[in-house]
Symmetry: C2
Subunit: 464 residues, 2 copies
């Protein structure tokens, strides 16, 4: 079965835009990308639209969708603690509704591939329900000695095996995520590194995100160290950077995705490049939590023409962002880099679109399948209709995408050849997902939000 | 005639949010703001919405709407020159369509009041067509001696008198805008200061926007000085800051609105405070053009509790932004301040909503009429419906407005008691403006855009 999609602009990413282009889809894969030949009856003409690869959200936590807006105005570590407190009030049904609603937001915003870190495991089932491709990383925590490394590892192996079984036949891979240097102790990191190597599991780690983390690792000081002291958690500051510390634990390699990278140096860069690790850049989350702006020139190695940057763009969870809108994420990424570097050349529209598509696919190790419109790749696509007011006129589709588009301008999302979101199906959001009934999910989300409101504002002393 | 608007949240700005609130409108003014009494037949219940004062866009150029996306990736002064080149291809009918389309974008995005700088004069007619309130500043240029100060002033007086006549019976005031220190010579600044004082005209000046401007004033160096030298323009660098320079020209006073303020110091602050001048903060434009981040703590004087900040939020023109979406402008303002200051307390949702409403009204000298929901003020309102995906759940309406809302979430805009935009009138944008036929405007905008495309990419050597 052949499907032909036509649009005023087709953006292959790996080549220049094609005016009045066509993408031919056969058996879930891209068969051709080309100027549209004369109309044939079975073509779907999207008209005034930009047809492009599905967006790759290289870092998110679909689980936390219900916490959107619940954790405002807290310094980084106080925010982490509020989030942890918030998690205790939710049950598995709440988590599933929260993650599924988040997956719906992703697909409605043109995202076809995710790198998701999940504690509850709900994100896997949410991603399956929406047909998403990507990597689902099972999170692991364990900074104190309340559970042995063996106990944690035994539980983790069981979870991963069940997840791999559940993901059979999908375009989802299961990975593991040692959460961060301040939530995973050295012995656990090393056990996880061994497990990942042996079972060929991709890794994802929050790294070099905040000054609080940096103070803890460099000097054993700051708000995280104070919490450790209060809770009697043994901590010997390694006195090195996060990247050097993670390398010493054996968790840096070509299948490792590092997230954030705000506090990194040239020396760190040499290390992660040698190990072949990739990055997810989360500009809105970093800014909103007061962590700063990641040095993208360092992460993406833009000064070195031999680089093939494995840097993707991530929304992070909506508990910090507060939306999963990769168009706005691209826009803010450019604005932050240009503002901080005081240089209009710091980041261009084309570069950030590549990061949000092919860069993310590379970071997740999926660029043979996703991230560009090329024959043989999976048919993961989205079509963006320039806004009737904010998207007029169009001089350059890249400018329109980065500087004007909103997630709500997406008119069509296709994953693996299957239409998963279609704005032309109806004006109500519930009518637009061919395979999903959003109503019961929304109802359960409201139940979960009420539980959070009842506990609000949580047990969160503000410590900066 | 009485109109009652009800909504799940009413945000008066000058007081805490009211759950299930009501705003009573009588004869174009606000008669009451209160918890909703039991339903009465003539009330319009907006349901799941946030009803708030209309947004105040303290700085824009409606004229330049057609240039959205036409001038990308140029350093500040190269961008200015490309914009000037672009202007030469447009005729009055193009300008009117461009400005009117921009005014429609404003009103559809909840903006009811503007501070607009216009060269062509079209913005005044656009603002009248959409019913906008605010200040329309006629721009003045004249850095070289090709026209005498007398000739410029005679022409300006004629324009201002015609504009005042055209604005009779509207909520629009006419002002004048000496464009910037690098486009207006000292003798012209002084003549404009005299005229403004005598005729009681508010002033608006682009000030302290770029390093190029700073280099020109401090040292007679940089790209602007080089252009002056090429064109034989006499320039004696005053060797002082922009603020000190403008003060020496006599243009700082309580009716002066300064725009940008990226390159300012504590000493500058003492000066503009003594003169009583106000600011428009344009964070997205400043970032995108590589100018940097304005020190909002300095502009708004947040360290001084006796301050009543006269700082508004501005989109600047869509030739640099590229949208007029004050919700996103609020969001990016917070993200930039938090990122640069590495402090989550740098700017909160409540503070930025106040800046985008009451702060802007104060900056434009209109706070007796606009900027908050208070009995006696003009009924300038907007209602925002939290997004069906991105706006769920709502824990705090301020968080929802700043961190999730988009201009396209606006469901209703009322100006002076008149409904000027109503999303419930239809799904097509053309059906939503009760007093405006958008179709011929859009058609003319397309004509104007074709003229720009034909000249693209203009005569713009890239000089940083």
């Amino acid at each position: 079965m052949t499907l032909r999609l036509r649009a005023q602009w087709v953006l292959p990413i790996t080549g220049p835009p094609i005016g009045n282009g066509e993408v031919v889809v056969e058996a879930g894969r891209i068969a051709a990308v080309r100027p549209a030949p004369p109309a044939v009856p079975d073509a779907r003409d999207l008209g005034n639209a930009i047809l492009m690869p599905g967006l790759v959200n290289a870092h998110t936590h679909l689980d936390y969708t219900v916490m959107r807006g619940a954790l405002e105005d807290r310094p980084f570590f106080a925010w982490v603690r509020a989030l942890v407190a918030c998690k205790t009030v939710l049950d598995p049904e709440d988590w599933l509704a929260s993650a599924t609603f988040g997956a719906a937001e992703a697909v409605a915003g043109g995202i076809t591939t995710v790198g998701d870190c999940t504690d509850s495991g709900a994100a896997l089932h949410a991603a399956i329900a929406l047909g998403l491709s990507g990597v689902i990383y099972q999170e692991v925590f364990g900074i104190d000695e309340s559970r042995t490394v063996d106990a944690i590892m035994t539980e983790l192996r069981g979870k991963v095996e069940r997840m791999q079984s559940d993901a059979t036949g999908t375009a989802l891979t299961i990975g593991i995520s040692p959460h961060a240097p301040y939530t995973v102790r050295p012995a656990l990191f090393r056990a996880l590194a061994d497990y990942a190597r042996g079972a060929q599991l991709p890794l994802c780690i929050h790294a070099a995100e905040s000054r609080a983390e940096q103070e803890l690792l460099q000097a054993g000081a700051g708000p995280i160290a104070r919490m450790f002291a209060r809770r009697g958690i043994a901590w010997q500051a390694p006195g090195v950077s996060t990247i050097a510390y993670l390398d010493a634990q054996g968790v840096l390699g070509p299948h490792t995705l590092l997230v954030h990278g705000v506090q990194v140096t040239e020396a760190d860069r040499a290390l992660w490049r040698e190990r072949g690790a990739a990055w997810a850049h989360c500009p809105k989350s970093n800014a909103k939590l007061g962590n700063g702006v990641a040095p993208l020139t360092l992460l993406a190695g833009r000064d070195d023409p031999t680089d093939c940057p494995r840097v993707g763009l991530g929304s992070d969870s909506v508990a910090s962002n507060n939306t999963m809108d990769l168009f706005e994420e691209m826009r803010v990424a450019v604005l932050l880099q240009r503002a901080v570097q005081q240089d209009v050349g710091a980041l261009t529209a084309r570069e950030i679109v590549e990061m949000a598509t092919l860069g993310g696919a590379r970071a997740l190790g999926m660029d043979a399948q996703a991230g560009s419109l090329e024959p043989g790749k999976r048919a993961d696509l989205c079509a963006v209709c320039p806004g009737a007011l904010h998207g007029v006129p169009v001089y350059d589709p890249y400018s329109t995408l980065v500087y004007t588009a909103r997630a709500s301008d997406v008119m069509l999302t296709m994953i693996g050849g299957e239409i998963r979101y279609d704005a032309t199906r109806g004006n109500r959001i519930e009518d637009r997902f061919p395979h999903l009934d959003l109503r019961p999910i929304r109802r359960r989300l409201d139940v979960a939000a009420r539980k959070i409101r009842a506990r609000y504002p949580f047990d969160t002393e503000v410590t900066s």
